[in-house]
Symmetry: C2
Subunit: 340 residues, 2 copies
């Protein structure tokens, strides 16, 4: 990153979530806990991508609306601080749609179809050719979100890197058309810890697979989930040697156990044989209860006054909109779409 | 039209032009003179589609900006009256981009690719697969323009009827999602007089073909253009029988000559033989000078105070924006995108 140099703009992060359900441990590991760190060093915008979420939720529009406040509660509960992070609701900043509209002229259909992330998502959702147009064009929308805030860093998984490249292509094409550098290129910020598997051992933790532990889970729900955690199917008796590969209990301990030495000793014992799953799970449960207990408590506290949460979103959105409106104004002027 | 019934909404017309060059006789016959009539009976919105025009003018953005005022001058010159017609600039109503964004979720890529108008335009422009995404998705943008003003009538040529059908599909899908009739279906209003050929006899009168007579043409330019008008290549001597088919001089007379009887006599004489092209062209020139003289004079008058023209556009746009904002608000609420 050249962000430390004198000439580079101050680093700005854009990140966010599609509010389609409660956030879970996977979000915590993959993004939320990083945001809590980032807000100390960077200007950070966290976007509730409700308009984007509609792309494949047109048949259940209430779901997106309901989850905006739920996801905001998750944000506040994990320690995203509205004083240091600007939390915004995408749909309430129409400039993002306006920029999308312009950027659609800067990318070809063929290029969108080649986008590996779009390809994979189309496959994953089983859309084939009957994809909503908004789905094919969502890289332009994402480019609008990133560039509106002149974000220089976008935290994404490895699989999302092509989306950032796509954004930067649009940035370069726009700046060429504008004949000056109005938009800013962004860099992917890929977190060190990758994706957390579901409690069933499936690669992706996902609400639709029912293999999540939500951030707002009760103590009893955490307890029940840990009991279901996939371990080693060959580890039938306590005396059997256990395997660590694909063992979700240990993968979760890797992600959350602060006592790395103690964890290593536990692993050695497990592999040697003579250590029951119940001991491992007990340790995991303790750690998860310790992690999620305070989060749940803060979440419940914030949830008592949803009016206050909406006020936080309103203020964050207004602040973010000022930035987006400024960028959009520059874009409009550069395109000659300014008259009065 | 059921617009006369008690329950149907009052008829609203949306029409407009892409401001990429001065308007010409083809526009006059195909649309402008109808608008002057429509404004007596309908609520009429005339849109300068500058944002839409960018789709294939990203490499020459100044052109669109420059032509907004030129086309507005053409409107005022032909008698479109800002007191009875709301003239608006598309890009200054960001709600149109916002609606486009939502509508992209209501139409599939496959459906857009099947749109005959889009197909034909893609072929015409030689885009192939390298079309800008904004070009493929422009039916969603057009649906936004039409529905934002709850237009019930859209004057279009035969070839544009599929675009109206596409809009109505989006309207029906949206209303189903919203579970109430928020958007209004539109009807194509196909004018009786079809397309005027170019002076060279080519089917389309078009700036890029250089076969137009502009509305602001000087007397000398009109005279020179009429001299070039394509007639009957077999009509070599005055005494030869002449042909009317494809004879642009007569096609123009059909469109503009108010003396239908005199015109019929002229045609008979021409077909019989013994009537020179020069006589026909003299008649045509007289009629065009009579038609365009006052238009040119009004155009020059308005052009003296472009500030006033911009004021007209500003007021029309503000008025139109109120309507579009109202519709967009209803759309946003129906999609659950309303929070504060």
């Amino acid at each position: 990153m050249s962000s430390q140099s004198n000439t580079a703009p101050a680093p700005v992060i854009l990140t966010g979530d599609r509010p389609t359900g409660p956030l879970h441990l996977g979000h915590f590991v993959g993004s939320l806990r990083n945001r809590v760190v980032y807000q100390d060093s960077y200007r950070q915008f966290v976007m509730l991508a409700d308009a984007q979420a509609l792309t494949d939720n047109m048949e259940d529009i209430g779901k997106v609306h309901r989850n905006v406040v739920e996801v905001a509660l998750d944000y506040l509960a994990v320690g995203i601080d509205p004083a240091r992070t600007t939390i915004l609701i995408q749909s309430q900043i129409p400039e993002l749609a306006e920029l999308t509209f312009y950027y659609l002229n800067l990318v070809t259909v063929a290029r969108l179809e080649r986008n590996p992330t779009v390809k994979e998502e189309i496959r994953h959702r089983g859309f084939e050719r009957d994809i909503p147009a908004g789905f094919l064009t969502y890289p332009a929308s994402q480019a609008a979100d990133i560039t509106a805030f002149k974000a220089t860093l976008v935290p994404v998984g490895e699989d999302q890197i092509p989306m950032i490249e796509q954004t930067n292509e649009i940035v370069r094409r726009f700046n060429r058309v504008a004949q000056r550098d109005i938009l800013v290129e962004a860099k992917a910020l890929v977190p060190e810890v990758g994706r957390l598997p579901g409690i069933d051992g499936k690669a992706k933790m996902s609400k639709s697979l029912g293999n999540t532990i939500n951030l707002g889970a009760s103590a009893a729900e955490i307890s029940a989930a840990v009991k279901q955690v996939y371990t080693d199917p060959l580890h039938l008796r306590v005396s059997d040697p256990g395997h660590l590969e694909g063992n979700v209990a240990f993968l979760y301990l890797d992600a959350f156990d602060p006592d790395k030495e103690g964890l290593q000793a536990l692993k050695d014992h497990y592999v040697r044989g003579g250590l029951g799953d119940s001991v491992v799970k007990k340790r995991l449960e303790g750690i998860l209860q310790d992690l999620l207990g305070p989060i749940r408590a803060r979440r419940e506290e914030f949830a008592k006054d949803k009016g206050q949460v909406m006020q936080i979103l309103k203020e964050g959105t207004a602040k973010a909109r000022e930035v987006a409106a400024q960028t959009t104004d520059e874009v409009r002027k550069a395109l000659g779409l300014s008259y009065f």
